[in-house]
Structures are given as C-alpha cells and as structure tokens.
Symmetry: D2
Subunit: 280 residues, 4 copies
C-alpha cells in the first residue's frame, strides 16, 4: 500500500505524504473537512418544486448544511424514471438560493458538465461513473468542488486514483464519498465499508463523506450507520430524505422522513462530540 | 427477510419476534448484552504464561472485562504455529483465575468440546467453523456461553441460522461476533460489515460483539472501527492485544500494544456515553 | 503465487514443482487423474433404497463410474432434512456393491470419520468444512481417497493448503473439486470458477473434479458447465441426478433427470475427445 | 429471474421471449452469432503502425476474423499510457482496410462517439463504462454494432439492462462480452463467469463473446479458458495478442504471442466441432 507513488512512477497528489494538512473545501459559507461535521440531505431526485422546497426547509431546520437532489438519475433500466434533466437543475438551484444552501447534484455525461456546473455548487460523480475516466479528466478542468463516490466494486486504490485524475487536471476540490461495495449479502443493498473511510483519512488529505442511504438501502439502518460513520472519522454524511418516502419516484425504501432526519441529527450531535467534532 | 420462520417452517428462536427482550448473558460477574459495553482483549494465541499474564494484567487495568487467547489456532497452512493445545488451555484458565477474568477460547473440533469447556468460561466458534454444523449441534448441548463468529462469506441469514443450531439444541447463551467478510478490497484483511450488526440487533435478541482486529488486519484501523462498532449498536468489542506485537507468533500486524488499548478504552468511553451506554 | 513454499517455509507437497507427474487415484477399478474423464453422479441425499438403486442403475448405464449421495447433509437450517446418517451409509454401501460402483459420501465431523470410512470408498469434505482443519488433519491419517471441495469464498491458495493438511498427514490420495464461489450474482447459486481449475492443474499434480450442479444451482446450466469444465482441463465431473427432481428432499432445482444425464454424457464425450481425453 | 419484463413494466427487447431467433450481426463479411465461432484478436493498445500490422497479419493468418486494439485506454492511473487517441484510430482503420478485417475499438466518452464511429467497424463499451448510461443511450442512436462488456461487478440483470439501453434507442446490433467479475481470488485478475454466458444465451437472443485475456490476466490460462468458453456456448472469443508481450505498453502479462494464438486456434477448432460449431 505504501508504494502507490512508486507503483505509478509519480508523486500522488492525493496522498497525505505529499500534502500533510487536510484539504478544506469552502462553498457558500459551508466548510467541509474541518471540525464541523457536514450533513448533506435531500430527496433522491428532484420530483417537483413543492416537494423539494418542503424537504429543503425541513432538513435545514434540522441542521443540514447542504441540499442534495438528482436531476440526472443513473437508473438500471432505461424504462425507469430518469430525472427531470435541466428542468430539475433549475428547480434545485432556485430552492438552494431561496434556502441559502449550497446544492449538490450528479453529472453523468462529460457533455453536461458545463450545464450542471451552471446550476450546482458541488458536482457529484456517482458510483457507476467512478471509472468514467473521461468524465473525471474533464472535471479536473472546472473550478467547482466534486463529490466522488466510490465505485460499486472499486478498491480503495482505484478510488484514490480516480480522485487523482481530477487533482492532476488542476481541480483540488475533491470530496470522497463512501457508499458501500457489492458483496454477497442480500439483506443490505451494499456493504458499507467504514474501514475504507478510516484508512483513506489516514493516507489522504481529502475530506470523506459517507452515504448510509445508498449503502444500506434500508431506512432502519441509516441512523446507526450515520453514527458509526462519524465515529469512524468521516467528515460528514449524505442522507436521502423525502417528505413521503412511500410515494418517492425512486429510493423510497431507504429515505428518511424529515422527522427521522431530525432524530438522526440530534443523535449524531452526541457522537460528533464524543470524537471531538461538532455538528453545529 | 421477514419470512425466515415461514421459509424454514419453524418459529426461529433467534428472532426477536419470538422473544422480544434482549438476551443477557452473565458469566463470573460479567454481563453481556445490557447497558455496559464489554471489552474482550488478549493476545491472538497463548504463547507462554508470562506473556499472557502481563497482557491480562494490563488489559484488565485498562478496562477489559474478559480475557481472550487461542490454544487451538485455525491456521491456513499446516506448517504454521497451531497453538499450544491443552497446555495453552491450562495456562489460560490459570491466568483467568488469578486475574479474576472470565476467559474465551476457540474450539475447533467437536471432539474437543468437553476439554475446552473444562477450562474456558466462554467457547468460541471461529469464522472458518461457522458452517461446521456438527460442532454447532454439539455446542447446543453444553451449558456454557458460545461466541459465534460470522463466516468469511456468510450471509446474515446463514449466521443467524448457525446460531439457531445452538439454540435449537437447548443452549440459549449465544453471543454473535462480526469480524468482517471477504471482498475484493486488498488493503484490509476483510471488510467489517457494521450494517450487519445494526440489522442483527434489530431482528434478533442476541448480543453482538465486533472484532475490529481480524476484520481490518491493520493496527491503525482497530481504534476507529471499535468506536464505529459501538456507535452502530454493538454490545462489545473483541480486540487483539500483545505486549510486543512485532514478536507475536501470529497476527502481530493487527495487535494493539497495551498502551494503545488503554487509549482505545478512553476514547471508547466517550462514544459509549454518546449512544447511551457505558464502559465501566 | 510462485513462492508458496517460501511463504510457508516448507516444500509444499501439493505443488507440481515437488512432484512433477500427475497423481493418479485408483479405487475399485476406477482411475481418476488419467486420460479417462470420470463422471460421478447420484442424488443429493440418500432418501431411500429404491430411489438410490434406480438412480445408480440409470447413471451407470449412461456412463457414470462412481456413485455419490449424502448420508450427512450440511444444511443451513437445523430444521431442514439432515440426511439419514448411518442408515444412509449402509444403503449407499449396499447399492454401490450391487452396482459394482465405488461410492462417495460426505463426512462432516471428525468423530464420524471411522464410521464413514467403513462404508464409503471415497470420503468427501464439503465446501463448508474446507477450513475445518481438525477434520482435514484426521483425514490425513486414513487410507482412503478424499474429495476436497473448495470453500464458499476460499482462495486457490487456501484450497491448496487445505489439501496440504491432508497430504502432510500422510494421505496422498486427494481429489480437488471446484464447486463455485460466492459472488454478488443472484441468478446463479454460486459462480463456477473454471480458471481456478486450469490454474490448479498447472501448479498442482492433484486431480480436479468440477461440480456444476452446486456451482450453478440451475438444471439448464449443468450441461454447458460440465462441458466447459472438461474443456478447461478438469479430470471429471460430479453431478446431481434424481429420478424425480421435483420430489427431491433437497437440491431438486439443480438435479438432472436420468435422461438429461444421458444426454450430458453423450455431449461430454465429444468435448472430451476434442481435448484429447475420453469418457469410456 | 423470469419476471424482468414485469419488474420494469415493459417487454424487454433483450429477451428471447420477445424475439426467439438469435440476433446475427454482419460486418464487412464477418458474421457474428451463427454457426461459425468468431475470433477477435489484437494488441491491447495501438502502439505504432508496424507492430499493429505485424500482429494483424499473424492473427489473420491463424484464423482471426476481426482485429481489436485500443486507441483510448481506460487506465486506473492518470499517469499510465492513455492510448494514442485519434492517431491510433487512424492507424487501426488503415491496417483493418489493408488486411481486410473489420476493427473493434473502445469508446470511453459520449463526445467521441462520432469520431470513433468514423474509423471503427464495431464500437466497444468497456467494463468500466457498462454503467455509463449516457454513453449507452447515445450508442443506441448509431448504426454500427456495439460490443458491450460486462461491468466489473455487474449482475447479469444489469448487463442485460445496459444492452436494453442501446436496443431501446433503436440500435439492435449489440454483442455482449463476458470478461470476468471481481472476487476475492487474488491469483487471477478477475473470475471468468462462464455460467453467465450459458444463462445469457438461454434467455437472450444476443450473441456473446468471451474475453479470457482480461478475465484471467495470465497468459497460461487464456487457452484453456477460450476452449471452455466455446464449450459453454459462447459465439466467439476476444484475445489479446502482441508480437513481443514482454515489451507491451499495457497488459503484457496476459497477451499471447502470435505463435501461441495459432496453437489456440488449432485447439479451439476441435472444441468448436465438438459442440456443433466451426471456426473457419
């Protein structure tokens, strides 16, 4: 593990040995990678303006700092809801402004980077695109932070090297996000790998978020896994919240209600304090 | 997931729906499965009396309640150190008595159950024997607690059904222990599955320990993963501690020094309190 | 991979570099590990004498050389059919004698080795016991061939070292059997790893069988996978056959009918010839 | 498995139940998906014109019908050789024309589709882009065949649905290619899943290739796995061949020499005949 730089014949920008201090990312008053734990929350997809506004209002009241919602959705089937596209981006940007929250949304195609960057404060690369090197390379050329989710079966080495593609292009604002890897366990959607979080925090200076919603796929596991993530050293969490999960167009089973999200935030505060961090 | 009992045509003893209250196991004054978090610590193997005594003395001083050490070691190669056998059992029992700590040790063969039960307070089934149904069935007939580690690639369902083998035999003192599953990640020995812990606590009444040492195989990850385990809802941890890890006959790379273990216990206390538990 | 012997400080008996010529195992006139491909067939479990006799008669007529059936069944649930035990062993031995076929059956407990060895010509270690080192060590002391199935998530290295436990004990009659490993693919029971077969044939002198029934769990895949196994270099196949699969007490979904087995044998003959082997 | 169409609320174009007869793809005189087994061969990457010409000449002489080589290479590290890009495409097209062989090359970015389609006869989607839905959707709009490799940890269902993205767009010329999935086995690069090939041939009408080079990562396993693939029902193989593997800029360890490729073709012919197919 120690010889990543030697293996690839280059000092890896992503490694702590090349940059000791933590990377801290500031966006519209939010700070990611310092003492404060950052909670990113919102629905899986932008479904309509009212629903997004209601969700944003409630998660902000509970303590979320950043709003997330998808306009372009990577769906297994071409016949599933694919997101509202540019319309969704516009709604998201508007609500973000109204609520004074920075917004995160996914970009799935290198052709869409300019468009998405126009509306989003932070661009997200989904797990299914972590190995889309062409997309990564082009994200190295923009001047906005990028959340890079770990691939479905990506090793930690590959995840760090995917980040290196962005850093090498000149964009040093990369936020890693662990969201579970595929295993043979069928009772959870994926297997959340918190040891990867602790290990990445040890060897890299980049901030790391954890997404317990996609990792587990089960509402009842989101709260304990969010707490475990912070105890393991994560810099924040990314959680799906929907006002009426049973009516969600996607990912309803793993979405918290706003009330559950409030409970999560209260419990998380205790854990954050126990590891020398704070939520507010 | 909900229909385990229907699937196997039997009300599963292991499920909370058949026994709502948590199973609490008491052994020599220690209580597993209640408010107090239990720390089990000790070297991978009984190497000799002095080393075990020193380790036991130090981990007890730091707050460990139970002593662990192997006399029979499941080793990949027939040419690796296989443990001291009965000699090791005797040393372990003696030190346990001197230190007034209950002791846990592994039983690998159904023929050895009586012997191991003579010396140990709690018998352990290792990950490699989780599917050794013959061993499980015979452990259902003894009157001592059993720690049942999750198999290398066992699903949660299989793990619970392995416990069911013991419960069905009449022994209701089963303690589950998550120790990581195999994935394609090479930088950690296994991938610790804390969502399995939270899920098992939800659907079963059995206490659950977490072994971050075998799960990660890396000393630096043991502390963050132990804290994450407690945050996720585990009832205790099981940690390898060796006075001189670099000289250990096995598992040196993942063993904490006694000093590191003390630090772990101090940090764990904060996390325990944050989730409404206590360490002492 | 090359340094197994160095890694464990011992010349590995299992490696071809320590014994160049193929190990050939002869049992009651059958020869395993030479030019002839060996077909092992029979029901998952001994259910009763009539059914076993009918199956044996039909698979022998189609070209099977060895009869397989379980008397002790490793079942996930303690409430599933566990096999007929000694009664099953007796039935199996009797039918084997009548049909003049050597018989293979599983041993699950080191305490049962003597009993099983009394009735069986070849003892089988199932995938769930591949890491039961105590069982392996004791099988090193008997004078009968042992079929060693690969563990559910065992690496090739671990599989070879499990064989080494038996060889190191003095029993050099080990037959390896690939039966699929666990992956995240839900449409097949396991993922058959034929590259492991080719690799093991390259580096070890031991004969290798393939069990396409347990590997795939789907009747329709047994024939193509059996053919692929022989093309990959396997020395034989092990297939579940049941006169009425839909009434089988276990594994009905993956059992061939006797008629399908006959078709398999005809098609296999062509493939065997194409790779310089023969079936009869 | 049976209810894919029901699950996604749409008759799946990819399924045999919606189109019984095999899809046959014709490109420059080559026919994929009929009686003849198709061998696709060539170096990992276009390194220079001379090397590609030599390789093409030799693999064609041995019986390869289609030439493969990468101009855009998906590399884990941004500092590894990334391919010659458009220069590589031009060289590849020129050699293809000279040799009268159709050429396959990978497209990694939806922005490059038009360019790649100008030079290539068949476009390839690599394993790392199987979930790049934006790329897939755009490939549904072109009029050239697409080879769709299975993702690193993709289920068969996801692989078929990725093909469905292309088919739903109007391009019915999809060729699937199995190239191994990730497991915890470290001695092979991936684990080749031939049961997926047999299962896909059963439920889909699309032709299926197998890439034993990327699947195994070991030269010595390419020949046995190619033979196993054909025995399992694959319609062809895709193999890396390099005149001097030890000097290759990428994937040298798994490339066959032209002489080894000739041997493969001779041996494959026997296996093809054994399963009622032919190589020439």
């Amino acid at each position: 593990m120690k010889n990543l730089s030697a293996k690839y014949g280059k000092d890896m920008l992503v490694l702590r040995r090349n940059k000791e201090e933590n990377t801290v990312i500031k966006v519209k008053g939010c700070v990611i990678g310092q003492e404060q734990i950052v909670a990113v929350a919102g629905p899986c997809a932008v479904e309509n303006e009212d629903m997004l506004k209601e969700t944003a209002f409630k998660v902000r009241a509970a303590g979320a700092l950043i709003l997330r919602a998808g306009a372009y959705k990577p769906r297994t089937s071409p016949y599933s809801f694919q997101g509202l596209g540019e319309t969704g981006l516009k709604i998201l940007a508007r609500i973000g402004q109204e609520m004074n929250m920075p917004v995160i949304t996914e970009v799935m195609d290198s052709e869409d980077i300019a468009l998405v960057a126009e509306y989003a404060d932070i661009l997200q690369v989904g797990a299914r695109n972590m190995h889309n090197f062409s997309l990564l390379r082009k994200l190295g050329k923009i001047n906005k932070p990028v959340v890079l989710k770990r691939g479905l079966a990506a090793t930690i080495e590959e995840w760090l090297l995917a980040a290196e593609y962005i850093l090498a292009g000149g964009n040093d604002k990369v936020i890693l996000c662990e969201r579970g890897v595929r295993t043979s366990e069928p009772w959870t959607r994926n297997t959340l790998d918190l040891s990867a979080v602790a290990l990445v925090k040890e060897i890299s200076h980049l901030p790391v978020l954890v997404d317990p919603s996609h990792a587990t796929g089960r509402r009842s596991l989101v709260i304990p896994m969010a707490k475990a993530a912070i105890a393991a050293g994560a810099d924040g969490i990314m959680v799906e919240v929907h006002p009426e999960p049973e009516k969600a167009l996607s990912d309803g089973e793993q979405s918290l209600t706003p009330r559950e999200f409030s409970r999560l935030m209260r419990e998380l505060e205790e854990v954050a304090r126990a590891v020398g961090r704070r939520l507010r």
